[in-house]
Amino acid sequence: MKKEILKLRDVKVYFPVKAGVFNRTVGHVMAVDGVDLDIYRGEVLGLAGESGCGKTTLGKAILRLVEPTNGEVTYVSKEEDETELTSLEKKDMDPFRKKLQIVFQDPHSSLNPSFTIFGSLQDPLKKFGVNSKEERRKIIGDLLEAVNMRREYMDRYPHEFSGGQRQRIGIVRALCLDPELIVCDEAVSALDVSIQAQVLQLLMQLKKDNNLTYLFITHDLSVTEYLCDRIAVMYLGRIVELCDSEDLYKNTLHPYSEALISAIPVADLDKKTKRIVLEGDVPSPVNPPKGCPFHPRCPKAKDICKTEVPTLKKYSTNGNEHYASCHLIDLPEIS
């Protein structure tokens, strides 16, 4: 039986837009606009979408690096004790910070250039009660070896490393407190293809060794297909489709996912398909279109799409749960 590790209920993150002499709030950027999502223990959940769709904000809201405006994020421990993270005081978050970690996108800006690697990485250990320096050095040294780097590297500075190495140091930083869930925010996007494959394999290996759960945020659907068990596709702050990674490619339900998949260039001459070219750009999240947020670009849009907002409904494809929010799906809905 699958057990949840995180439950998200109606999570919203709005950023105020200020203007004028008095800096009054004139509107809101609806970065994340009502997301319901369960993350199960031991799975890799992919979060895909174009830039500006709110995937990074959602990842940060889970860790409360950005305060959610509304909604609940509930952490379920191994013993099935539930704690609602969003209502905790800042200082009460600490024990949960240890369990929920993040790997950032840009390995060049996420390490402090004036500290050695050990200097940067020892702070979280100090905070969580590893008091002897010897022990801290041992933990970090062991982890560096686990990501195929030499133990001595911990006394070097970030500028001495290449992009792939820095990304591995970022992974060590996330791992050093023995977390349960890691949010990988575009962890491989900034790397060259040959290095990207190395980091992907490393992430899979670490998951096996440490029983980790990943929330893997990326815009690259070929990587998600390879890595993830389930994939959630986001558009303008909402999840439009959520299903098993295989079903997303074989039984695509939402027209947006379909267009997204067809737009990806595939390095295989035999698999050339007709691309569905969407017109226009992603609308502004300050002023999203009425009705289905995707209708102005949707090639299949009907009248109902312009007025009614579709909800995320449950269907079944291939015997698996498959959620999608579109008016035009003619599969029977499952309650």
């Binding site: 293809v193 297909e225 990806i264 390095a267």
Partner: protein, 342 residues
Amino acid sequence: MTDKNNIALSVKNLKTFFYTNNRCNKAVNGVSFDVEKGKTLCIVGESGCGKSVTAATIMQLLPTLSRIEEGEIIFRKDDKTINIEKLEKNGKEMRNIRGSDIAMIFQDPMTALNPVYTVGFQISENLKYHTNLNRKEIREKSISLLNDMGIPLPEKRVDEYPHSYSGGMRQRAMIAMAMACNPKILIADEPTTALDVTIQAQIFELMEKLKEENDTAIILITHDMGVVAELADNVAVMYMGNIVEAGTADDVLRRPTHPYTKALLESVPVLGRGKNQDINPIKGSTPDPYNRPIGCQFAPRCNWQTESCDVMPEITQINKTHEIRCHKYEQFFEKYNEKRDS
């Protein structure tokens, strides 16, 4: 090989070196290729392999600390041939070619556009220097260019500044600028890397249309094998300043023969192959350009390395279109022949 009259640009044994701190970086170290009219040549490689420097050399846009050491860049204009490498960098002839006969699209449209001038002004600059149109005609042409690129309300948009354009629209404006004088050759340096896939699809559609309508030769620089499969007619794979494998898209993608090309293709997950596909990372990382391997540049990372790899391999022609720089290619190529026969 190919019909001589169809070749728009040929580069022969081009070497571009950079000099800093008394050290020499051989960024482009003997590159040769031909670009045909109405065809797309894709140059693929990882960062630092010299693909952008090749493009900058053709456009004579190199920084002062670098120079063309050797080689020829021959541009065929109508019946004349022009040796670009002999022209003065900012001389009259080079400035005539740059922007009108050979145009370039850059990777990041935000830094390539000037934020203090309107988009219309930046497009018309090109027309002002390279054509005899008067002011009114220039404005009309700018608007029709934006219209061709699929920018909505071009009459209004032409007077707006780059900051009010979205990423995809900025890249279109850049293409409009590059296409203003109907160039014979369009060099696109990672034109879609900064864009989302749906916008990338729009830009590709546009580039294919331009190629068919104007018979433009396109040099597309990319690191994404997917893009190559999508757009390329011919492919050149670069590694550490050399072309290691070149041929038609069919040659290179269906019968990759150089170990590096094979490794590149095997290291990216391919959409639609599911979770059970094998991806094999290339071991190690690209060498330091100041401390290169002595022979074949790929040897230290190659699974088939032998002693013979201490000598730089020569280019070998496998068939009419397919050429490769490797000592042991026969071994790999035979496999394809066997497969075909059986």
